[in-house]
């Protein structure tokens, strides 16, 4: 009797210690992760004097919101926010749909050189973007519709080309053709998922008289909703955060991430020289701009957080 009580007590105290240690560890980790965001929050509401005030660590003495207005005009916030949302959304939708097609094709059909082509998919993931950015720039400058333009040009005498630079099609066209941001990864995810679906589903659909397209849209796609959701979310975040393609193909940084990456040069410009010359003040505005650029993503994350973590588990990438 005494022994059992002792055992229960030992178990309880052991659970309590493990729980406490784990809690302390996790809280410190979470602090590390949240630190930059809290820092940005704190800096955005300070006046310039508060930066130099040694008694101000987290909570500013003068709580001001004027920094936001300055940053709004410095990076032209609202039009670019709209641009970011529009570009990310459209490019993501196209990207996910096309990758799903390709993933289904690789998973369920056999055709010549299938493994070689899938090897090419994996190969396309590891290409460093800078190797092909300059030739792609030249390609977009005189885009000839995948060679059809040059063919027509053989007859007409002058190739039919279109200058796609400075339009959003530089982002949509590669997504349409399966060459968007990390598309190879999405094709791999979709292929894993479709492979794990039982073959009987397809056989049942075939017996019931479904054409191949109808099988795809009616049966495979609804089953793959977890994959679709997780790929959609990841693709949206990656397109939103991508500044390299925008700065390369556009004259002006039209999305938020691109503007943020160029904020150093903006601050050195003539209109904002009084900010750019003093590193402390520049830091203040940089932090404020960062915060404004992250807020849309964080808001979206707060609402869709459940889908992020849960859908990865059922998307089949780990199957």
């Amino acid at each position: 009797m005494n022994d059992r009580k002792k055992q229960i007590l030992i178990n309880k105290s052991r659970n309590f210690t493990v729980g406490t240690v784990r809690a302390i560890f996790l809280v410190s980790m979470c602090f590390i992760i949240l630190y930059p965001i809290l820092y940005m929050l704190s800096m955005s509401f300070r006046t310039v004097d508060d930066i130099f005030d040694p008694t101000v660590i987290w909570i500013p003495k003068n709580f001001v919101t004027t920094n936001f207005q300055k940053v709004f005009e410095m990076i032209d916030y609202f039009p670019r926010l709209f641009n970011s949302i529009k570009i990310s959304l459209i490019a993501t939708i196209i990207n996910v749909i096309m990758c799903a097609f390709a993933g289904y094709g690789f998973a369920r059909f056999d055709f010549k050189c299938k493994s070689l082509l899938f090897g090419c998919v994996l190969f396309s993931i590891i290409i460093p973007p800078s190797s092909i950015s300059i030739p792609m720039y030249m390609g977009y400058k005189s885009f000839d519709f995948l060679g059809i333009g040059t063919l027509i040009g053989l007859f007409v005498g002058r190739p039919l080309t279109v200058n796609l630079l400075n339009t959003e099609f530089t982002l949509y066209v590669p997504a349409l053709l399966g060459a968007g941001i990390k598309s190879g990864l999405f094709i791999y995810i979709f292929r894993q998922f479709f492979r794990n679906l039982p073959k009987e589903l397809e056989d049942a659909a075939c017996i019931d008289g479904c054409s191949i397209l109808r099988t795809y849209f009616g049966i495979m796609v609804p089953n793959a909703s977890a994959s679709f959701i997780s790929c959609f979310l990841f693709s949206f975040v990656w397109y939103w955060n991508d500044y390299s393609t925008v700065t390369m193909y556009f004259n002006e940084p039209i999305t938020l991430s691109a503007s943020l990456s160029m904020i150093g040069t903006i601050m050195k410009g003539s209109t904002y020289a009084e900010i750019g010359s003093n590193p402390y003040i520049a830091l203040l505005y940089t932090q404020c701009a960062c915060l404004l650029c992250i807020i849309p993503l964080l808001i979206m994350y707060v609402f869709l957080q459940r889908f992020f973590t849960e859908s990865i588990e059922s998307s089949g990438i780990v199957g």
Binding site: L176, L177, I187, S261, Y301, G319
Partner: protein, 302 residues
């Protein structure tokens, strides 16, 4: 009999043709965008490029630029080597760290969803402008000394390092502490996606194995090494390859920045040659890692 066989063949070909149609958009994109760009890039790297108003003029000069990359360039081989050794250090640490955190986050405790949500934030936020504006921006980097992790210890005029120094600790210990803490910071922000993948992998291990081990009287340590670890080997490999790719193609990588800067100075041929060397090296490393580890892991039969 003959008509039956003929019907079956045409259905097979019909299906394989349909499969080909499904991957056709990707194939078009791969050939006409990626392969064409790669061929162009290879062409640039073996010729002298001059920019004329009509386009780019190329004169074939052979592998001169490749030789230049290794013989006369002082910084490229050094950066290449440091990038590879950096990978050898960071990849195992990142994987071990994220596995550790994933194991913790997989247990049942109150506030688990909030913890998971917070740990995923680096993936959402981290790949974007923050890193760039902290690292590359002259203005803020001169203040933060080039590393966002130093912010943990100095915000404006309050500095933890001075506090520790004043408290009597020697400068060496303070150095070790601050570098350890800044490493944890970088590590946590780099391992966002790996943690999520590991959590997903850990959940796919069936609990029957653990129950059987409990019945046999296995300790937690044995359970981890004999059950968990072998079962998540496939995920480990996916994670390892992803970590290597991310490390090599991340925009804050030294070699990438060097190549991009040379491209900005309009020396396209040299930049292309460097990219190709880098690309071949990455490809070899990833290929060899894949083949070496593939022998050793055990795939479970579905």
């Amino acid at each position: 009999m003959k008509t039956l066989i003929r019907k079956k063949m045409s259905y097979e070909t019909k299906k394989s043709f349909a499969g080909f149609l499904f991957i056709l958009p990707w194939l078009l994109g791969f050939v006409f965008i990626i392969v064409r760009a790669l061929i162009n890039s290879a062409a640039y790297s073996v010729s002298e490029t001059t920019i004329t108003p009509g386009g780019m003029k190329l004169e074939f000069i052979g592998i001169e630029y490749y030789i230049k990359a290794f013989r006369s360039d002082i910084s490229f081989p050094r950066m290449l080597l440091s990038s590879i050794t950096d990978l050898i250090y960071t990849a195992p640490i990142v994987l071990a760290f994220s596995l550790f955190i994933a194991v913790i986050l997989n247990q049942n405790f109150k506030g688990r969803t909030i913890a998971r949500a917070i740990f995923f934030i680096p993936v959402i936020v981290g790949s974007g402008g923050i890193i760039l504006s902290y690292m590359n921006d002259d203005v803020s980097s001169s203040l933060i000394s080039g590393s966002r992790s130093a912010m943990l210890f100095s915000s404006g005029s309050f500095s933890m390092t001075t506090v520790l120094l004043e408290a009597g600790l020697s400068a060496d210990i303070v150095n070790i502490i601050s570098s350890a803490i800044s490493n944890i910071f970088d590590l946590t922000w780099k391992s966002g996606l790996q943690i999520v993948l590991f959590i997903a992998g850990l959940q796919s291990v069936s609990s029957q194995l653990y129950e059987a081990a409990d019945v046999e009287g296995a300790s937690a340590w044995e359970k981890f090494w004999k059950i968990t670890f072998p079962m998540i080997m496939p995920i480990l490999m996916v994670n390892l390859i992803y970590t290597i790719i991310e490390n090599f193609t991340d925009y804050s990588n030294e070699v990438m920045k060097y190549v991009v800067n040379i491209g900005r100075d309009l020396d396209f041929s040299y930049s292309s040659a460097l990219s190709w060397i880098y690309f071949v090296i990455i490809g070899t490393i990833i290929g060899s890692v894949y083949y070496i580890i593939n022998r050793k892991i055990t795939y479970t039969v579905k």
